[in-house]
């Protein structure tokens, strides 16, 4: 999601809440496909009226991101700078 992308999402009056949230979710997916699935899952929770927990979502996002970026082992790379 670049800073120039502001205002690309709008709530359309002729669409249902579900359709508008789906559009927002799609917009998030375009902006950062690594992170967006977790926010999508949040939107889903909210539209189902489920209990919303920021902590659970943060942890899930962190886990997804760690798995996506892979672990690095910088131990063998000394830095004398």
């Amino acid at each position: 999601m670049s800073e120039n992308d502001d205002n690309l999402f709008d709530i359309a009056d002729d669409q249902t809440v579900e359709q508008n949230l789906a559009a927002f979710a799609a917009r998030l997916l375009e902006s950062d496909e690594t992170l967006a699935p977790s926010v999508n899952s949040m939107l889903e929770q909210l539209s189902l009226g489920a209990e919303f927990s920021p902590h659970a979502l943060w942890d899930a996002q962190m886990k997804a991101l760690t798995e996506a970026s892979g672990t690095t082992d910088p131990g063998e790379q000394g830095d004398l700078g």
Partner: protein, 821 residues
Amino acid sequence: MSWLLKAVSVEGFRGVNNEGAPLHLQFKTNRVNSVAAPNGVGKSSIFDAVMYALTGRIQKLEDLPAAEQGQSYYLNRFHPANVGTVALTLEPDTGGNDVEITVTRDSHGNRNVAASGGADGDAILAELNREFVLLDGPTFHEFINFAPLARGRSFAGLLGLKRYSAVRQALQSLANTNAFNNHFGIRDKNRERATALQSSQRALAGIRDAYKSLTGEDFDPSLSEDQILKKAFNALDGIGILQPHCAGKPFLEISIDDCVAEAKKAEGGETREKHSAVIKQEGSWIDAMRMLPTANDGAQLIALAKARDDALAHTQGDLFLRLYKLSEEILTRDDWTDKSVCPTCDRDGEDSVLEHVQEKVAKYNEVAEAAASLSGSWADHGWNQLGNLEKLALAEGEVALLPQGEAKIKSGGFDEEFARKFTAWIATLAERGRKALEDLRHEKEQLEQGLPPLLTAVVEKAEAARRLQMHWLENRRANSERQAAEEELHNLSRIKRFLDNASGQFADAESRASARRLEAVKPVCRQIFGAIVFEPIVPSLSKREGSEDLSIGLAQFWNLNEISARAVLSESYRNAFAISVYLAAASLYGGSARFLILDDVTSSFDAGHQFHLMEVIRKSFARPGKATGPQVIILSHDTMLEKLFNKYSRDDDWWHQRIEGNARTSVLPQSGAVNKVRDTAMDLLNVGRVEDASPWIRRYLEYRLEEVIHKLKIPVPLDIAHSDYKQMPQNLIEAIDSAVGLHVAANSIVLEPLQIQNIKTEVAAITGNYLNHWATGQVQAFAAGPLMGVMQSIDNFSNCFKYQDPPGSGNSKFYRSLSQR
């Protein structure tokens, strides 16, 4: 799918007992519906029942102080089953099968929802849970008197933006910097990174020193790691007696202990051994004394600790922090509508309690910020790297302070007093270090005077190699830790940036939608208000850009412009304002709920404005007057308004019902149900429940008397409806008696002489055995037998105004009037 309300059935809930025979109210989905009831009969219980079905709660009970145990008043206290049942029959607006949704609540507060035909009852009820479906006086009163923020949030629901608002609030929770940082321990991670960086820098300084001692060259950072280690290897390998210990090994794996032992072997003796030990000790002190914090660093540490103490002085401890945070959580919820009511004591103040607790929490945040700055300075200036110095310089019996300092920094308890003590302590240790180094150098010089110069140099090189190895490995470890911390912080900052952007973009979208819908509501609101009020007064609604606040005002008040609505409008006009907003929003953004229930919303109106409002509802808002409008159900206790309902109900677009009863026995719709009222009274008398039967006898008597007056067009005094309800039957009897007397005197009476005589007899029985006691509250004087006789007298009295047509047929008809058959 959108829904109309076809029927409501209630048993064992709020003021409706109706054990075994639920109150069943049928509504017409293509008409305006009105239900009238005297006070205390159960009209608002119907409203509460639908509210519970839709929302799972009754707000006025939830708002009661804890001591009053509002939860225990959901169920009817007289019903024996400890279960309340509310059933809604819903008709799809676009055709299809009706759905009956039955909601029960037990005495433990457990709620169960079941729906006919496999429908998802919970989902349908959630769709119907819109702000405008259930409207009563307090709703309008609150809307006008809300603070702009609370009004704005309520308005978001009216505009169909409630779920968007929930998503926005959830996104804002996700992006909340404090909560996010606390959850992930961002401050600790920053400290870990700073500590690793400091360790690495100290190790690098050690590498430079040791490298120069070993190779005789300045450290060249442009060289690669391999080149540096190769040069170090060559320097050690170049010493003949050490070559066997270096051969075939990378520099970092050469055993320095073996090299030193080799030098000792070349020239053994106590002096050599002592010399080696002194060099080793000197190296340890040099490392421990490297990059000591300066006096300025110390002063900064003390200043930051003082700032943290000052901030802490404005707080009241963790217990209060928990109280403030919990209060803030409650107050920011949408269902805590009045932010000036304290959630802990229910007191209502003039100022926002939310703002108060947020200020309090902010004070705690200032402490956290100050502690974070202190922690940063602690790591940045290497205070936590002084463990070796403390270990070397600690005298016997002294207690180390560094572990205490570390613990205080981690717990946020590092205060000014300790900062002063700690910095003074480190200055003492540094002084001891300088003295130790001076002593060691002096001792080394003394020893070297008695040793061959070559081997002295070999040991010095070997010890330099040892330090180089040690610092090299330390640098690797510190770099590894720093990179891991940076990697994690980078990932976290990506998440945070993403959430900030997602949250901001969603809030913008919601704000634009809200502004757009507000613009659409304004003209409809003005139109409805104008139709109710009929004065040159124009309401205005405005929303600040980027804010949830909704302000109300008057664009025009006679010849004045832009003035405060709350300051100049009477209570009735304020209600008219709120009603106009709600009806306008409902007409434009109704969604799935195609019905509204209005409970006593006209209480503050005079008869004229009541009429105007009913005309607006009937002709331009509700179906069938407006084909696309919602179905409107009006509940009212107002006797004047009921006369209007009775008039309207002669037309095809209105359906009026009256209910009677009480919370202890049952509530029944009276239309076409007079026999039910009679049966209920007789059933109660048959089982000896005289006290419960007596109000039903009153209803039956009143019904029969009004029936006679209505059928025979008997004139009644203008104020007959204004008396106490206990006096009403007597007033009706007197009106009838007076009219009969008038026609007898004028010789125009159509009644048979026997009927005229019976009137007196039955009235005497009804008055003597019932009304005299009822009107004065002496119900203990009642007995079942005489009251059964009163029931018979009521029927006999009614028959005095009927004739048989044809005579002897048994087919009774009311006379057309007292003078006409």
